[in-house]
Amino acid sequence: MAAKIHQMLHHHSSSKDSGAPSEPDSTSPFERQDSAMDRAREDEKRALAQWEDKQRPMSPGEVHMDPERKAVGHSSRTLRKQDFELIKTLGTGTFARVWLVRLLDDRKGAQDSVFALKILRKVDVIRLKQVEHVRNERNVLAAVAGHPFITTMVASFQDHDSLYMLLDYCPGGEVFSYLRRARRFNEPTSQFYAAEIVLILEYLHEKEGVAYRDLKPENILIDAEGHLKLVDFGFAKKVENRETYTLCGTPEYLAPEVIRNTGHGTAVDWWAFGILVYEFLVGQPPFWDQNPMKIYEQIVEGRLRFPSAMSSSARDLISGLCTVDTSKRLGNIQGGAQAVKSHPWFANIDWDQLYQRKVQGPIVPHLRGPADTRNFDEYEPESGEREAYGEELRAKWEGFFDDF
């Protein structure tokens, strides 16, 4: 609802800025080709090209404000796929592909404007029953845009058969890649990354009422300065004080209450956070088996085993987080995220400095330029076959994509 209002407001204000008559929009907005549209598009591209320079950490309060008043996170009625050059695939999913793109702009300096563009085909989103998840993803990203450790959705847009989310590009690649190559992180490295994640969860849970639901090293990127960016909000959901039931996540990271389907909330992220810290320190998650059902059996049992002399404060933190009973789970009990931040394992963290991105991270990627992709793996090219987004599907589903 809020997003819908925002979209209308935004459309209104952008038309006004470009001097276009504010007429009711009877045709599909992305098909309009009048000159006012072109001018609005040029304005928008100029703003995009300069976006990086204006970046600075916003306070939690600033991030939380109405997306309409923020510089980022809006639903654009002017941008098109043709405004970008697709350079390289950065990642693929079952119904989405993320590209490194360059903003096509004649003005000087625009060569440096690169982004990650997540492209979702409407027909695949519908076929895989992910419409609700994709809507959640877009709306949560719009709401949280500007947080220092969450990928910034600069804008979203759509055309006839696809949805687009324009995101900041994190040239450092996935924490996953560093972790697998290093086998495991030492304690200070683990503490640094874990602490930035705590700030993300604190914000998502306590300011936005959002459960992220897919925490794992694969979804954490390193930006050019060595700080984390959480990406892929496909399962993120505004839950507030109601529990939710749809099973989603990654097998090794699923919380017991998700497996047992007794209803879950933001507490699942604290469970997954415990698994994540364990995986940082040990190199693999605590519950694992070739057979996924055996993983789930171990998870609901919740018996953790630690390497014999892992520091006692690390054990204590992980045990607190990976507690089967949510009414005893650290992060979910009294104090919330603050109780996690006060844990002795984080004794060396200056939380304010950390939020301000003033603490140097342990890995700062080596880069030849803003569009360097050396830290990303190679992916198979896109297959040619496409199912058409026909009239029948369109009639039934198009309304669900209004927010884009």
Binding site: H133, R181, T189, E243, I259, G263, K328, N348, Q360
Partner: protein, 459 residues
């Protein structure tokens, strides 16, 4: 005398490996397995040594020798370093023989010799699975340093998700689970068949009855029928009523055409057995092909039905608890969010008729809500009950506030189900009750023992 649990764990891990690999040379396979385990366990030990090494020096800090901002600071605090290059971890921990008595100090001595090298992570490859790696030589040398000594799958992990589910009562469609009549014999056989499955273990009687009722009979008329095919998406879980099935796994991950398309036969399942339980979680490709070897009968249960039964009962239980809690005057200042947290923490207990749930004079620990059944309140010196409790009534809530003795006894008159929460549990979630009460009305906190709040507090 029982076997040590560590030993049993190792043996069952070995059994799984044997089943999976079907080795020709069993002794060699077992020897290799234990050597691998030893290597892994020693590596873990070394890791733990790293974790316990002092901050600012020692092995742990060699992980990123080129740019580690932590290693340079004796206090362990973060400092800014000018060096930004990224280094590969030195794989020191497998250099020495893990069986050597002096391996740990030897390793520790190597730390200072680490010199920063210019390198990127490049093609540094871990073997993805122990099974694909050549047999390790019995002596661990430097040659082995790139192996990851266990069978964890190091690849990127795929997210999973099931159909979006919304509770029946919130969508106003009157869903009830399908019901298929069964004989008492069939029911007890089914109950036994799923007893060992952790997904069914936590079900209460009602849920259990619903799930068993929803299982649908599926006759398999002849042999050679593929009930599930490896690689296909799965929606059903099956229990074998009678007959027999062979299980095949094709190494390619899916059923292929041709005479060997089934892959290797890895097992057989007969009456009382079950298969396909991952389908009860989410839509995942089948891990095996299951083929009937004779005319048989199956019971089938689909994921959506199973998960809806679990969801609906959890949803109803939560709403019921929240409704009860709203009536508790002592907790009237809780926000809906706090109330739902408390509802989540309530524990269900069942007592037969005639049980004394709380006893006058005892120190109170827990608070109770009567969920089903009836109970009576007794006070010393009177034979007749002074009060009756029915569904939704609550008692003992002053225990959340103080350690005063119970003012009366509560005895169940029928079989009862209560939802209960202890003082510790409450404080763990929301802090002391006094603080919560002061939110609304500071005077309330001091008026705690007033009659209005708990009839049991009456002197």
């Amino acid at each position: 005398m029982s076997l040590p649990s560590d030993y049993s764990n190792e043996i069952s891990a070995l059994n799984r490996e044997i089943v999976k690999a079907q080795p020709a040379d069993v002794l060699q396979f077992c020897a290799n397995f234990f050597l691998r385990r030893l290597e892994s366990q020693r590596a873990e030990f070394l890791l733990s040594q790293q974790h316990s090494s002092p901050k600012g020096r020692g092995m742990a800090e060699s992980t990123f020798p080129g740019n580690n901002p932590f290693g340079t600071s004796p206090s362990g605090a973060f400092t800014t370093s000018g060096m930004h290059s990224l280094e590969e971890e030195e794989e020191n921990d497998t250099i020495a023989s893990p069986t050597s008595a002096s391996f740990a100090p030897g390793i520790m001595d190597q730390a200072p010799s680490d010199s920063p090298r210019e390198s990127t992570f490049g093609n540094f490859g871990w073997s993805a699975a122990a099974g694909s790696k050549p047999l390790s030589p019995p002596v661990f040398g430097a040659a082995d340093k790139q192996s990851f000594p266990n069978n964890y799958n190091m690849n990127r992990r795929t997210s999973v998700s099931a159909e979006s589910l919304n509770p029946t009562s919130s969508t106003h469609d009157n869903w009830t689970p399908p019901f298929h009549q069964k004989t008492p014999d069939q029911q007890s056989r089914l109950r036994a068949a799923v007893a060992g499955n952790f997904l069914f273990a936590p079900l209460d009687d009602d849920q259990s009855a619903q799930v068993l009722g929803a299982l649908q009979e599926k006759p398999i008329p002849t042999k050679g029928i593929k009930v599930i095919q490896q690689g296909d998406v799965g929606d059903y879980f099956y229990v074998v009523e009678n007959g027999s099935f062979d299980i095949y796994v094709n190494k390619s991950g899916k059923l292929e055409s041709g005479p060997d398309g089934l892959g290797n036969r890895v097992g057989t399942v007969g009456p009382g057995g079950s298969f396909g339980e991952l389908a009860l979680m989410y839509n995942a490709p089948r891990a095996a092909t299951v083929v009937s070897t004779e005319a048989s009968t199956l019971w089938a249960l689909d994921r959506v039905t199973f998960r809806r039964i679990l969801m609906d009962s959890a949803f109803q239980r939560r709403r019921m608890y929240e409704g009860f809690l709203e009536e508790v005057q002592l907790l009237s200042s809780l926000t809906p969010y706090e109330r739902s947290k408390i509802a989540d923490a309530l524990e269900t207990k069942k007592y037969p008729a005639g049980t004394t749930i709380i006893r006058e004079g005892d120190v109170g620990e827990s608070f109770y809500i009567l969920e089903t059944g009836e109970a009576q309140v007794f006070k010393r010196g009177t034979d007749k009950p002074v009060k009756k409790y029915k569904k939704g009534d609550y008692f003992g809530e002053l225990a959340l506030l103080n350690d005063a003795p119970r003012a009366a006894s509560v005895v169940s008159t029928t079989e009862v189900k209560v939802a209960t929460l202890g003082k510790n549990g409450f404080q763990r979630l929301l802090g002391p009750v006094e603080g919560i009460m002061r939110r609304n009305d500071p005077s309330k906190a001091s008026a705690m023992d007033s009659d209005a709040i708990d009839p049991l507090a009456r002197k």
